[in-house]
């Protein structure tokens, strides 16, 4: 009897413990929700006025936008922190590009996201459709559109969905190529700003045959750019660029097949560094190959061009920027911009807007431009001739892509289609069937 009573008492004790722990967990979340739901402007008004006795309340702002690949990042963040030190304590977090989408989605789903996230404006549709991004239009258009006017309008419009702005641009970002001018001259080639796929293949062969490089071309670590640029170029020739992005071109269309065949030919001809392993070579391996003179051409990304050219210069390489080779006769480039957005459930949206305004403002972006980055802020002055060329190439950007239709399509286009066709032995018919299924699924869901 006593044992039974003891057991009951102990069970009750355990239950109480569990309830306390559960309620503790619940209350933490509740506090977070309360914080999130409180209008920051109200919160600000509740902040005690500065006085000798009451110190100003400093708000912690989580800024998921520290791009360590940008040599200007530390200086820019230091300037932002210094300008806002009286109001905000900014915790700048390094961007994990490889897992960016997972990081952002997990943060938003957890209910405790960062206040600001780095994300590509051209890929915001999922967040916009799910109501997970804050509409920045009122902030951009306040004071007669002062903030809006500070941006390059083309880049700003990439983050515009259904007439509302959800993402603001940091820098233009798209695929381009960098070539070793000395090796080109050795191979008897002339460098031109634009070139066709056939010229690109011929240049690869000439580099190998005449300049003595083991390979011609190294990708950036994103071999899918070849496919994505290829289908866009061929679609533009047929005036179907919008149709391609809208999923109106079936998976068995020759646009896809021609592009895949071209890429397979490049792989099979052993012109693509390092031969076997070209589809899995990392960005660092490819960069090393270029800097060691193993290749004469490398696919690169516009926003990081300045840093790359500096590395090449330090190695005594005369490197210049050229456009991406076009598989069709039309000049079109995938890409858009690097940008930033505020999640709809950000803990401090007003503070986040102020941080964004400072970060993307004239003073901070002047630092970025001086370091050679093609800024989204139009008032920042760019001096470097190579970066001026990058800004010129940006005119061919078309920011809407097939893969933006659904995350599954993105995964298939970026990770699977080339592997399946080039390495896996899948037939064009199989690949077309898989692609078609995903396109239909994505368009049906809209």
């Amino acid at each position: 009897m006593i044992k039974k009573k003891g057991f009951k008492a102990a069970s009750l004790l355990m239950l109480c413990g569990l309830m306390i722990a559960l309620s503790a967990c619940g209350s933490t979340k509740k506090n977070n929700v309360d914080k999130a739901s409180t209008s920051p402007s109200v919160a600000a008004s509740e902040t005690p006025a500065p006085s000798e006795s009451a110190p100003v309340k400093i708000i912690n702002v989580e800024f998921y936008g520290k791009i360590v690949e940008f040599s200007s990042t530390d200086a820019m963040m230091a300037e932002v922190k210094d300008e806002l030190k009286d109001k905000y304590k900014i915790n700048d977090i390094q961007v994990d590009w490889g897992n960016l989408e997972k990081v952002v989605k997990t943060g938003i789903a957890s209910g405790t996201p960062a206040d600001v996230y780095q994300f590509w404006p051209q890929a915001m549709k999922t967040f916009v459709d799910n109501g997970q991004a804050l509409d920045l239009t009122p902030y951009l258009e306040a004071d007669g559109g002062k903030w809006k006017d500070s941006f390059n309008q083309t880049l700003l419009d990439i983050g515009k969905y259904d007439g509302k702005y959800y993402n603001v641009p940091l820098a233009s970002n798209f695929s381009l190529m960098i070539v070793n001018k000395d090796l080109f001259e050795k191979a008897g080639l002339t460098v031109s700003d634009t070139w066709s796929w056939d010229q690109f293949m011929a240049a690869n062969q000439a580099l190998k045959d005449k300049a003595g490089t083991p390979f011609g071309f190294a990708s950036h670590g994103n071999p899918d750019w070849l496919f994505r640029n290829g289908i866009m170029s061929l679609a533009k020739d047929q005036n179907k660029l919008e149709d391609l992005a809208a999923g109106k071109i079936a998976g068995n269309d020759p646009i896809y097949g021609t592009t895949l065949d071209n890429i397979k030919k490049l792989y099979d001809s052993q012109l693509w560094y390092p031969g076997k392993g070209a589809l899995t070579a990392t960005m660092d391996e490819n960069k090393s190959a270029f800097l060691q003179g193993k290749v004469g051409i490398i696919g690169w990304v516009a926003s990081d061009t300045a840093a790359f050219l500096k590395s090449a210069q330090e190695k005594g390489i005369n490197a210049v920027v050229v456009g991406w080779p076009t598989m069709g006769s039309s000049d079109v480039i995938l890409g858009g911009a690097d940008g930033l957005f505020i999640p709809a459930n950000a803990p401090h949206p007003e503070a986040a807007v102020e941080v964004l305004k400072t970060y993307l403002g004239d003073k901070v972006q002047a630092i970025n431009a001086a370091a050679g980055y093609p800024t989204g802020n139009k008032n920042a002055v760019i001096e470097d001739p190579n970066i001026k060329k990058v800004v010129g190439l940006a005119a061919a950007i078309f920011p809407h892509e097939l893969e933006q239709l659904s995350p599954k399509l993105t995964d298939y286009v970026e990770k699977q289609i080339l592997a399946n066709y080039v390495l896996g032995g899948s037939s064009l018919k199989d690949v077309a069937s898989d692609l078609d299924k995903l396109i239909k699924e994505a368009t049906a869901a809209k």
Binding site: G17, N130, P274, K408
Partner: protein, 300 residues
């Protein structure tokens, strides 16, 4: 001692014991029971990570079976886990019986060397082997070229025919030391008199291994199998660092596909269903291993 004070002591001991259990129970409840139940409930819902959830019955399970990548991932996970577990434990037992014969100091050195891979963080192992497998300057291809076997050199982590086995090899290398250590520890408990008397009866070391040592350490071998199997089924970071499941889906495993399905595709319910089905598969293999290795155990 009087009956009354004895029962009071019992009651106090019971209450104290249960009170001490409370933190562990709370932790286990939050870390295991609640997520498991929540995962099971989620597997019958549609949830994209936002606020709206809806009940969809068995739709998520049907979608898992219709998803080619999910089926491929399950096959890869089973192949990777079963193969690496089987080989790693066999290698571990062999290493243990070899080291058992060595003197104290040299045995210690060998044990340390062989156990180091099990102590290393998986991310470091992954990076180490990406260098070994590198198609252009990796150790493996360089070695093959050195011995004139150039034709065997390949892009180990890109080739469809080699990528999964390359991951399996790393799994074996990592875990064999742990199996060796467990078996060696069990062998320390075998009375030396048993081995000495068998030697007097004319048994060589091989016979001692097969007739005395292996039967006596069988429960630990079984434990090693189950422990290793569970570890290998759960492997996420090793595959992620080595191949990220690629190229394409050539080395994709269930944990990787679950993460993609939930956090990239926003299909949390389908990911939960996949997790539940995967838990059933893992349980099946644990029970199968248990049954295959079940037998008499000896007391000594």
């Amino acid at each position: 001692m009087k009956a009354g004070s004895k029962s009071k002591l019992n009651r106090t001991t019971t209450i104290t014991g249960i009170a001490f259990l409370i933190p562990a129970v709370v932790m286990i409840t939050f870390a295991i029971f609640i997520p498991t139940i929540w995962n099971f409930i989620l597997s019958f819902q549609h949830w994209d990570g936002g606020s709206n959830r809806s009940w969809v019955g068995l739709d998520n399970y049907k979608e898992v079976f219709a998803d080619k990548t999910a089926i491929i991932s399950i096959k890869h996970s089973v192949y990777l886990s079963v193969t690496s577990t089987f080989v790693a434990v066999i290698v571990g037992v062999v290493l243990a019986v070899l080291i058992y014969r060595l003197g104290r100091k040299e045995g210690m050195v060998y044990r340390l060397i062989l156990f180091i891979p099990s102590m290393m963080p998986l991310a470091i192992i992954g990076v180490l082997f990406t260098f070994i497998y590198n198609p252009e300057m990796g150790l493996l291809n360089q070695f093959l070229k050195l011995i004139g076997a150039d034709s065997l050199a390949t892009a180990w982590l890109e080739d469809k025919n080699t990528v999964l086995n390359a991951v399996v090899f790393v799994g074996i290398w990592r875990i064999a030391g742990l199996a060796m250590m467990l078996c060696f520890a069990a062998m320390q408990g075998i009375p030396i008199s048993l081995l000495e008397s068998s030697r007097l009866d004319g048994a060589g070391y091989f016979k001692q291994i097969t007739q005395i040592i292996i039967p006596l350490i069988k429960p630990i071998v079984l434990l090693s199998f189950i422990f290793t199997l569970v570890m290998q089924f759960k492997t996420y970071d090793l595959v992620f660092v080595l191949t990220k499941g690629g190229p394409g889906n050539f080395s994709k495993t269930v944990p990787l596909h679950m993460i993609d399905t939930a956090f990239s595709f926003g299909e949390y319910g389908q990911s939960a269903a996949m997790g539940f089905l995967f838990a059933i598969i893992v349980t099946f293999f644990i029970l199968l291993t248990n049954r295959l290795l079940r037998g008499e155990s000896y007391e000594y």
